[in-house]
């Protein structure tokens, strides 16, 4: 199998897995929310309701496409498309499992091993906000516009702190490639142990970047009704909702890779490269990702949300100084 064929297969597989995970994250969200609230959650569509996401998907697909007369048609369609695309693109640089070696050929379990992987990640994630901004603007609805503005300012503010927390991580690992970062964390040598503060800042920012509670201000059901997607129906809405869950999935994967050793696990790291290691490594990676997805859901159903100005205060006055402090501390450690 040539390199290219494998890459294509792998990329398709990653897309498929992302979509599948995102789909079942919606299910998990509903089910877990129910369990956290002493309820049962969806259980009529299929055994334990596992066909629920499918039902939602089909329903959304067959719902009327609606483009308000006063909206900007082109941008209205572009919004969800951009959002979905960027969400899917982020998965390119994530190493999902250790390399697979068959008959002397090495297959990397990563779509693209960029040496500036982290920068790519940032670039694409910040593009994602355009999806919200464009969609919210094009709707020509005040609630949508407010949501879009909130999203833009929130994402920009939190990206700074996120970037700074990554800076110290990069200082520790002296590489911008996600793969290198993961490979360095073999066994128990996870970055969380060296960068606890950085991790905290990063995870808070990750919540904000994915627009999840307690930072779900752009959407904010009780204030802005649906925020940026108020005017969207049918599959356009589906794309927005779906992309949000892909974001959750990717954020969890990035969190796992950067701070929790990705596919590294004490026993797994020591194995010889081969299908077994790849498989187990992949499982470890997914388990860690799954935990973070659970965390995302768990926090969402526990906390009240911030107010717009408090969110800004937290971002600019707390997280960024803390991140700078973290950089300084890390620098001092490396220096001495």
């Amino acid at each position: 199998m040539s390199e290219l064929t494998f890459k294509i297969i792998f990329i398709v597989a990653v897309f498929g897995i992302s979509l599948f995970v995102a789909m079942y994250t919606t299910y998990a969200e509903r089910k877990l929310a129910a369990f956290l609230q002493d309820r049962l959650g969806p259980n009529r569509a299929g055994p334990f309701g596992i066909l629920q996401p499918l039902a939602d998907g089909v329903k959304l697909f067959f719902k009327e496409e609606f483009i308000p007369r006063v909206s900007d048609r082109l941008l209205f369609i572009a919004g969800p498309a951009i959002f979905m695309c960027t969400a899917l693109m982020t998965s390119a640089v994530i190493p999902f499992a250790p390399d697979l070696e068959i008959n002397g050929t090495t297959y990397a379990m990563q779509a693209a091993d960029l040496n500036v992987g982290i920068l790519y990640l940032f670039g694409v994630v910040s593009l994602g906000v355009y999806g919200i901004l464009v969609g919210g603007w094009a709707s020509n609805n005040k609630f949508s516009l407010l949501g879009a503005i909130r999203a833009a300012s929130q994402n920009i503010s939190y990206e700074l702190a996120m970037g700074l927390s990554i800076v110290s991580l990069v200082m520790v690992s002296s590489s911008l490639s996600l793969r290198d970062i993961v490979d360095q964390q073999s066994g128990w040598a996870w970055n969380i142990l060296y960068q606890p503060l950085g991790f905290l800042i990063f995870i808070v920012c990750a919540f904000a970047e994915t627009n999840r509670a307690p930072f779900d201000l752009p959407e904010c059901e009780t204030e802005l009704i649906g925020g940026y997607h108020t005017e969207f129906s049918s599959m356009k809405l589906g794309l927005y909702l779906f992309a949000e869950y892909i974001h959750v999935f990717i954020s969890s994967a990035v969190l796992a890779s950067l701070y929790f050793g990705g596919y590294q696990f004490p026993f797994v790291s020591d194995l010889d490269p081969g299908p077994v290691k790849t498989l187990l490594g992949g499982l470890v990676m997914f388990a860690k990702t799954g935990f973070f997805i659970f965390l995302f859901i768990w926090i969402r159903w526990t906390l009240p949300r911030f107010r717009y100005d408090q969110l800004m205060n937290l971002g600019w006055k707390v997280l960024i100084p803390l991140a700078v402090l973290n950089v300084l501390i890390t620098a001092l450690f490396i220096l001495f």
Binding site: A33, L36, Q37, D38, R39, K142, F143, L146, A213, P214, D216, C220, E221, T222, E223, I225, W301, T302, L303, P304, R305, F306, R307, Y308, D309, Q310, M312, N313
Partner: protein, 410 residues
Amino acid sequence: MSAMKTNQEFLAELPRLARPEIPYTTLNLGPTHPATHGIFQNVLQMDGERIVHGEQTIGYIHRAFEKIAERRPFYQITPLTDRLNYCSAPINNMGWHLTVEKLLGIKTPKRVDYMRVMVMELARIADHIICNSILGVDTGALTGFTYVYQWREFIYEIYEEICGARLTTNMGRIGGFERDFNEIVFEKTRKFLREFPAVWQEFEDLLLRNRIFMDRTMETGAITAERALNYGMTGPNLRACGVDYDLRVHEPYCSYEDFDFQIPIGTTGDTYDRFVIRNEEIRQSLSIVRQALDRIESMENVFHADEEHYYLPPKQEVYRNMEALIYHFKIIMGEIDPPVGNVYHAVEGANGELGFYLVSDGGRTPFRLHFRRPCFIYYQAFPEMVRGQLLSDAIVVMSSLNVIAGELDA
């Protein structure tokens, strides 16, 4: 970045900002906005996310209660009062019965009073549960709501044992109750008193000292006691400003003077204070229910005043006794010959002073019945309370005021 300014700074700058060439954004909050529980409209003039000015439109579920009341005999008005503040229907029922009894000069036995007190306090708890947990929902924390709502359901179960309905209870009759409380009522109330405080504590733990929640609610929608009084605020919203006006103590009705409880008051009158006051009122109400329950159980089984002109005779009597049958017909036809007069009676509803102004001309229906609906009166203050604050504040202020549309619009 205007979001960084304090409200005072913002309001001080307003005249400068208010240039005619830059119009404010008009944001239409309602009538079907998710945060307007029930239906009313707030037209907000916004400068970014700041509210410059607000104006409400109400009347979206105006149902002409007062007009209907002029066409119905007294006992048929009870189901109407249910639908005033439907979150705590029994308080409305009892308030109405107390008003009519005041007009007719009926003295109810102590046990009936205590039974009423018990039911009213349960209703108050139920109402405050809704208000505070919905405040949680509006700040984004949905989960606490489902925990405490289970206990509101439990209160429904108690209602159901008493009267046979869950929400709009039509509970009680002029002169007492339609039947005695059964064993299950006492049992369930005991269970409620035993187990609910822990659940409520859990809910408080989720929110009360959580900084996100505190930041959201503190210093939002504050109003001074003076303005609150001028706006006619009563109930928890007034008490949050530091005025200990509580009709249960002020003008004790229904033997409230026999009970030992306190009136929680706040200091600043902001959303957080209203939340805290309602929490504490739930605790006080629990204590009242406990006291009432102890007294009821040790008393002889009377559940209505002995007033053959106004209270229906027992069914068995109606089948056998001619006199009873006549009274039965007379009462159902509404021919109870009430005295001519004006009565104003107020009870401490869950949201404040719930008054009934009843004018009787001696006919079978009231000549005029006016409901003093606390929500209607204090909701006027909303624009003043949110002026200069953010959109998110408007939402939490709205839900902490606990405006019930049924009461608002009547």
